[in-house]
């Protein structure tokens, strides 16, 4: 299944349960499943294919450990049913130690094609070119934004940005060098914007968006749509971006990562007081807010908890993964009749060890 069509969204839970059964059947079938999950299942005293009927039944797998994604062999994650297809590997983290890796075949394209449907053509014109002002290297984001541009009929211009080097500079206390590196990245962006007036749309991380807007007016540069994500966004940043940086351009904040895909924002509503509210791409990924001390308990609406992610695609099966983020649980809305998350930010119990850098 891809996205749930708008007309069917009232019945999203039935669709989700059906999707769960389909994904479990795929990932635990000896013909199509990945070596990791087949091995996992061989050590269980129950058969996932027979006993997992609903989304809630995924609790039986326990929490997905992020250590499982560090190191190789990375091919253990490739489902046998897709083994003959070209495989990408994307990394997350890795400024020190071994990064987490996720294989990908088509997911990044599918996720961003769905997301493309949420972007208004008026501000993200079909055929317009894009600037990808975010991390390069072994990141999913660069290829994903490039595909988004291509899917919409445009071309994506990219910059070189190594976020791991930025984090090292910060840890070394080399703040001035970090500023110089940021300036180097922004210089690349300015060069692209000056040379190619076909660029109308930007992807940028919050800090790089601010830095870019310190150098140019988006309006004068002809930018009409900004897709922003990659790191934490506070409500105050959201307001600042809308009021002082956009100059009429559309602002699309997103929450995404290599393991999930992309959660879209609830359309701007002044009543939300600039809270940033995201809804997961049901049924491919589900975001929940759980009690950090009892991660099987979903907190009440409005209550703060740790973000828990479940990813259910044909390429990647990841039940009950505890993110390094916290948020408030958000009620469903008309467009997205399932739970969302409000004001995602680094998990406060880890706060001292998180270094976000320029990206």
């Amino acid at each position: 299944m891809t996205a749930i069509p708008q007309a069917d969204r009232k019945n999203w839970k039935e669709a989700l349960d059906a999707h769960v059964r389909e994904m479990v059947a795929w990932h635990f079938s000896p013909e199509t499943g990945s070596p990791f999950w087949l091995d996992f299942a061989s050590k269980l005293d129950w058969d996932p294919r027979r006993e997992v009927k609903t989304y809630e039944d995924l609790d039986r797998f326990g929490s997905f450990e992020d250590e499982w994604l560090r190191g190789g062999p990375v091919r253990r994650w490739v489902p046998k049913g897709m083994a003959d297809q070209p495989v990408y590997v994307f990394e997350t983290g890795g400024s020190t130690g071994i990064p987490k890796s996720r294989i990908s075949i088509e997911d990044f394209r599918i996720d961003y094609e769905h997301f493309s449907g949420t972007l208004p053509d008026e501000y993200f014109p079909k055929g317009a070119d894009w600037l990808m002002l975010g991390p390069s290297g072994p990141r999913r984001l660069r290829l994903a934004v490039e595909h988004l541009a291509q899917h919409r009929g445009g071309i994506s211009f990219c910059v070189d940005l190594d976020p791991r080097w930025v984090i090292k500079l910060i840890k070394m206390g080399e703040m001035q060098m970090m500023e110089k590196y940021k300036a180097h990245v922004i210089d690349q962006a300015l060069t692209i914007l000056r040379a190619h007036d076909s660029v109308k749309c930007i992807f940028a991380t919050p800090k790089l968006l601010e830095a870019l807007c310190e150098k140019i007016s988006l309006k004068k540069a002809g930018i009409t749509g900004v897709f922003c994500g990659g790191t934490e966004m506070t409500p105050q940043f959201h307001r600042f971006a809308r009021e002082e940086l956009m100059e009429g351009a559309y602002f699309a904040p997103t929450y995404g990562n290599t393991l999930m895909g992309l959660a879209t924002h609830k359309p701007f509503d002044p009543a939300d007081n600039y809270a940033i509210i995201y809804y997961p791409p049901m049924p491919r990924a589900i975001l929940e807010v759980v009690d950090p001390d009892n991660p099987t308990r979903i907190v009440d609406y409005g209550e703060t908890g740790r973000v828990r992610l479940t990813t259910l695609t044909r390429e990647f099966f990841m039940p009950r993964f505890l993110e390094r983020d916290e948020a408030e649980r958000e009620r469903p809305c008309e467009t997205y009749p399932w739970d969302g998350v409000r004001n995602v930010r680094p998990f406060s119990r880890f706060a001292t060890s998180v270094v976000e850098g320029v990206y």
Partner: protein, 476 residues
Amino acid sequence: MLHIPIVRKGESYRSVDVARVPHFRTRETFVEISQANAGLIRRDLLDQETGRRALEAFTTDQLIAMSREAAGYFMTATLPVGDEMQSPEDYVAQLSATTGMPHVLVRKNMNKISGVMAEMASVLAGLTRGLDTAILDRGYGTHDGHAVSFYPRTSSLGVILPSNSPGVHSLWIPSIAMKIPLVLKPGSAEPWSPYRIAQALIKAGVPAEAFSYYPTDHGGSGAILQNCGRGMFFGDSASVGKYANDSRIELHGTGYSKVVIGEDLIDDWEKYLDVLVASITENGGRSCINASGVWVPRHGREIAAALAKRFTEIVPRDVTDEQALLAPFANPEIAKRISAIVDSGLREGGATDVSGELRGSRVVTLNDATYLLPTVVHCESPDHPLANREFLFPFASVVEVDQRELPERLGPTLVVTALTEDPRLIEKLIASPLVDRLNIGPIPTMKIAWDQPHEGNLFEHLYARRAFQRVAQAGA
């Protein structure tokens, strides 16, 4: 709920993000403070000329007069604080509520701040070595028969402020009379003083565009220091250390201030007990100019015992008590942690908590407020881990040291009060780069002459002198 906004070149701005600062006793939110995101600060600082031009419209003498007038407003006027009004009594009570500082100490600090504003002419004369203010306005002139010319090194002064004591605000106020706009980041628990000082100056006629006020996090502080041409940074040694190699920023870290008694006067130590007590305990022991060490060639144990006895007279009192000398900790956990650090040092051996023998537990509570009682430790050697420590309460180590090892063994010291008439020791102290402020004679470390520079000369920080020659104009 009282709310303090961000101020962007004189314009109030209410942020979506607020910090909630609790009352030190009830721990309930007492004030909400708008928090600026770093990008907003950086964007504002793209234009630093507006404030500068607004100040340049006045002469230095006019700004000095406004400062003098503002001194009165600061002490007596009802001034805005966010959307509400604040009387002087409100200011005292509010500052005390979030920091725990006794009202009597807040009032003393108010006097200190207003004193600098009232005496701005002599403060400026001290910092510029008596420069004619017309030279500052014109940029050049003749001083003591020599051609001089000065130019500003910056279009704004960014200041990262602490919460420990309002007296430090005296240090940045002269920037306005020097026509350099201010970009202030208040301490998280002490938003009150910089806001009130700015309001007093604005009421006296200083253009509001000359003031920006950004309550913010570490990232925002970094944005201020990175983007203002000159900065001042008050913080602990670890925080300010990151900027040790940045000459644009004047650092105000831990003071490690000390009283040194020479061989020649040590046998008369009892005569100086009042100077020692005042240096250690005034202002609740919270200032960088409070002594945290008494360095002597001998009689260390007796001096420590005498200080400990005097310290027993200093007990926790309600913040409204006119006799109150101790400030409670807004966060009780910090008091416990500090006490644990002292205990950990004592366990190393070679040091004794002399106060402990007289007063029992160091951490006490009164009316739900947590205090650290004054503490004197005797250290047998300057190498002891507690010999050169400073804490946020009246704490001092009495350290026995061979006078021949002074001043090198003192380490960097903000204030030295030297009780000696030995010319050789005095010469060595005068010549030492380790000593920032030097008092010779029985002057408490806390006694400040405001026409003297403090950890650098603000005028020299903000202005540079250029070589200047000019051919006389025809007819001149």
